[in-house]
Symmetry: C2
Subunit: 597 residues, 2 copies
């Protein structure tokens, strides 16, 4: 006799109402597994152990299995009805089901850049929280407090922080062994909190510029930006540009620590402001990600910068593992972590690497330029098979420094100018004009060129050798020279990068301009004075504060960190100064005129 085997057909129908999807399932299948298989990005931080409480679903129709203890605890803490909600990861399918998946239970795509190009990432931060009802030690099995904790967790996580070990008995006692464990990078117990705190998980992303600092506070559970703060870098008191601060730090190690203190103070003021505005507890801010130029991240950590002052102009570090906040003393969780977007080489720092991540620069097909123009102009060229970076010392003119009536991009700075039978200009925050910032200078030069007030060699044609803009604001011959030098430095940098890698201007598929500078830059005028090569204006995109956007991306996504760390290794560096033709090219670039190669 032959034996027949029944083929098993899926028995049950699972309707996900708010996704308009139907899945088939067998008796005993795991609901979370089935939802994931259906291509829905359900959140399951805890490897389906019912600890993170993220995969809650609302059961509209179908068998409601008895509540598990962990489930009950989580529903109670969240104030959800026990006759409606279940954790999908603990749910065994035993009937047809109709359900809704609340948006909080879904991993969202988060867009990294708000302006310019589109780029997004999946939320996957370094922090995971687990709510645990721990087994208490018994006289017959007197497990240590730490063992009790470790036994409740999905993996054997390390505890590296002795202070946390010291606090452990009190936390366990106080909470009656019901605690929330904060795990860092799926590896380390970073914090331990009495009771249920799954909903509180925050991080800070910071763009540390030479002049300006911007910090944003993010909810790590959903990637939302809750608040943004900005501040001047109080290192300004020690020197306006990077070079003067490096000189100061090198001259005396006390200065190095003053510079460190200054920046940390500024950062903490911003963080305190963020905390105040959002009413979020400092201890729930577990990580800060910092995107800073090479000099800034060295000074912030008190690392000597002498090697940046002389050839071959190399940094002390490029990548660091996440540091303990005890090293920096930021106003976040005392034992929180600080991650630095890696430095690439020399002055091409963590602000640039962060920007590359935000703009998904490495993965675009075609030839692209990435520009970040400030005291140093950083230029990254992407060809079909390579990434090359360089840094060109533009000098501080574009930041309004060394210009008679120059001003950084602060309220009252003329940032935009045009000519319509007379000179028309806009100031930042519409304040009374106090001076001119970088973008304003570019517009003015373009106007003066067109109106033949200056020659394309940069000579002021009037006898006074001075151009009046308002009653008190003017440009001198020396000012024009400063701008000329700054523009030539950038121009030479771009030219040499393109030439070296055999890319013609017309081969460029796009130019990304990052930095606060970029937002107000007039493209036509930039082309006119020759700051950028002549290409189709549509190919030029302002991507805003890409360093901050990158810091946010790195805060929200571990895979983004892996990506930038490996990218930072791969990017080649072109030293302009070591190129034989640099001086020639530089001199040839001094004229204000359109160019292409």
């Amino acid at each position: 006799m032959e034996s027949f085997q029944m083929q098993s057909f899926p028995q049950y129908e699972i309707k996900i109402l708010n996704y308009e999807k139907v899945i088939l399932a067998n008796q005993g299948d795991n609901l979370a597994q089935k939802i994931l298989e259906a291509g829905i990005n359900l959140r399951v931080d805890c490897q389906r152990k019912g600890l993170c409480g993220k995969c809650l679903v609302e059961i509209i129709k179908g068998k409601l299995p008895p509540l598990r203890k962990k489930e009950n605890l989580i529903l109670k803490e969240k104030g959800l009805k026990t006759d409606k909600y279940r954790l999908a990861c603990l749910y065994k399918i035993e009937s047809d089901i109709k359900l809704n998946i609340p948006p909080e239970s879904i991993i969202h795509e988060i867009s990294t850049l708000k302006t310019g190009i589109k780029s997004s990432l999946t939320l996957n931060s370094a922090l995971k929280k687990y709510y645990l009802a721990l087994k208490k030690p018994q006289i017959s099995s007197p497990h240590s407090g730490l063992e009790c904790l470790q036994r409740g967790l999905p993996k054997k996580y390390l505890i590296n922080n002795l202070d946390l070990v010291k606090k452990l008995p009190k936390i366990l006692d106080k909470s009656k062994f019901k605690v929330t464990a904060v795990i860092y990078r799926d590896n380390e117990i970073l914090s331990l909190e009495p009771g249920h705190t799954l909903d509180e998980a925050y991080g800070i992303a910071i763009d540390v510029g030479t002049t300006t600092l911007v910090a944003s506070l993010l909810n790590l559970n959903n990637g939302q930006i809750l608040e943004i703060a900005t501040s001047a870098n109080s290192q300004m008191q020690f020197g306006a540009d990077v070079i003067s601060r490096i000189s100061l730090a090198v001259s005396n190690s006390k200065n190095l620590s003053s510079l460190k203190k200054a920046i940390i103070t500024s950062l903490n003021q911003m963080i305190t402001e963020l905390i105040k505005k959002t009413q979020i507890k400092r201890n729930y801010i577990y990580e800060a990600v910092i995107a800073a130029n090479t000099t800034m991240n060295h000074l912030l950590l008190g690392i000597p910068v002498a090697s940046l002052a002389t050839a071959p102009f190399h940094a002390v570090f490029s990548k660091l593992p996440p540091l303990s906040n005890q090293e920096a003393g930021l106003n976040i969780y005392k034992y929180g972590k600080i991650y630095f977007s890696p430095n690439i080489k020399s002055f091409v720092g963590g602000d640039i690497s962060a920007g590359l991540i935000a703009s998904n620069f490495g993965n675009r097909p075609g030839n692209y330029l990435y520009l970040d123009l400030g005291t140093n102009g950083e230029i990254v060229l992407k060809t079909e098979d390579k990434l090359i970076a360089t840094s060109t010392a533009a000098g501080p003119a574009f930041e309004g420094m060394n210009i008679s009536c120059g001003l950084p991009a602060l309220p009252g700075a003329i940032y935009k100018a045009s000519y319509d039978s007379r000179l028309v200009f806009s100031t930042i925050k519409n304040k009374k004009p106090r001076g001119v910032c970088g973008t304003g200078l570019i517009d003015l030069i373009a106007i003066f060129l067109e109106r033949e007030i200056i020659s394309c060699q940069g000579r002021i044609k009037n006898k006074a050798g001075k151009i009046k803009i308002t009653e008190n604001i003017y440009l001198t011959q020396k000012d024009i020279r400063e701008i000329q030098l700054a523009a030539a430095a950038v121009k030479t940098g771009i030219k040499m990068m393109l030439k070296k890698h055999n890319i013609k201007s017309k081969d460029l598929d796009g130019i990304f301009i990052a930095g606060a500078f970029g937002n107000y830059l007039n493209i036509k005028n930039s082309l006119k004075i020759g700051l950028l090569p002549e290409i189709d204006e549509k190919k030029i995109t302002f991507i805003g504060n890409a360093a901050l956007a990158g810091a946010q991306a790195l805060l929200l996504s571990l895979p983004a960190r892996e990506k930038i760390e490996s990218l930072a290794d791969k990017i080649e560096y072109l030293s302009l100064a070591s190129q034989a033709k640099f001086q020639d090219d530089f001199v040839n670039s001094l004229e204000f005129k359109k160019w292409s190669i």
Copy 2:
């Protein structure tokens, strides 16, 4: 036509003279590889990259390949002849060779216990040192200092220590990029030293007892013990036994930190003494391994001990990852590491786990008892398939406490007594008798029993109720009762462990007695008063200070750490107090008499 392929026969003969071995090799074979294949334990710490300088061989006859740069540097630093020595790991075989392998190039087996049983391990410490001639950064490739270092190392090791990053530029400058990197656990750059320091690598093993501390300084390159120091635990001023110190620490957190300070001070005195005697630099002592009972390792780290004071008597931690020395402040390398032999459960602490490693206890076939008798009697039973541990509160009588003329095992303590027509006794260091310590008390009780001065119920038969030993030294009825209680606690512990696991006294293949106590214990007398079950005396072995031996083993061998960490998880715990028959058994054990089950 058919094509014939020549079979390739080994071409060359490699004679290792001092091992009397001949190996066959082909053109181009790696010499280190061939030596290892021949079963000779050649040292190759650096994965055969010519960085650790450990695999030097003396070429007596054969082709001497041109010196590689790294090789030349190492030979020069070691003052060896370049026409005789080569690194085997860089040597390609191209001729017959006759060679000698110096003993320094071989991994030795190191015996862990000097007394009693034999047990050994292979040297494989957590520290590896690499001597590196780093490539300097160039203007065309301005690698950061840290990158230069990382590129010279065989793997991408992390640097977790920001102070080391800060010092990096100076070290590179000063040494002209010739440095020795100290790697911890094949993972982390622990230190960086200018120039060649491969020969300097030390560690400290410490037995932290309630009363006495012993520290030994070891050469991590060859496993040799260079010096030993002992000291009283200066926590003694706060209470003689563990319980009184726990009470004190629980009463006030200031006391906890005083207790911490006291023990750290004592440890540092010992370490300073070791450094002074050996003239070894503090910065070359990279790691300390500590074997301490549960209370001591908690107090040493300033961890609250309240949970050890009340049922279920559980510790705060059992295992910790290696801590930074900054947490403890020992007089070793500032950023060195401290590894704690893991606590098993409750009062069965790191001293016991270390002792189990030293005696290879877990791997012996048969049934064994491991005893460490002090204020607490720790007992571990090994059966064919299980390991079970318990702790019994013997009270401090065996440490000479609570006894009218009791004394710890210090100079002048009577530690041995016999009767040969009159009472004969020995004192520690032959000093004038000042009192009686634990082993002396056991001998005296046995003598008094035999001479019927006391009954086996422990009653002093003379009217005075007091037994004179010397002019000033005597035992009172209360003293006898204290000893009786202590012995009964141990006896009950052993009995219950054996009963619970169905082991008869005669089934025991051996009893190991650890602790300073053990060395002077008179076996006959111990059996007579009923401290130990009646078994063949030959089966009882004193293994001396097994905690120190274990700490040394853990310092020298990473696999030993893995072994004890997994063993500590597996050992079951028997809580005597929670056993129904404990009180009965205890009362029945009070009589001084031989016993077996």
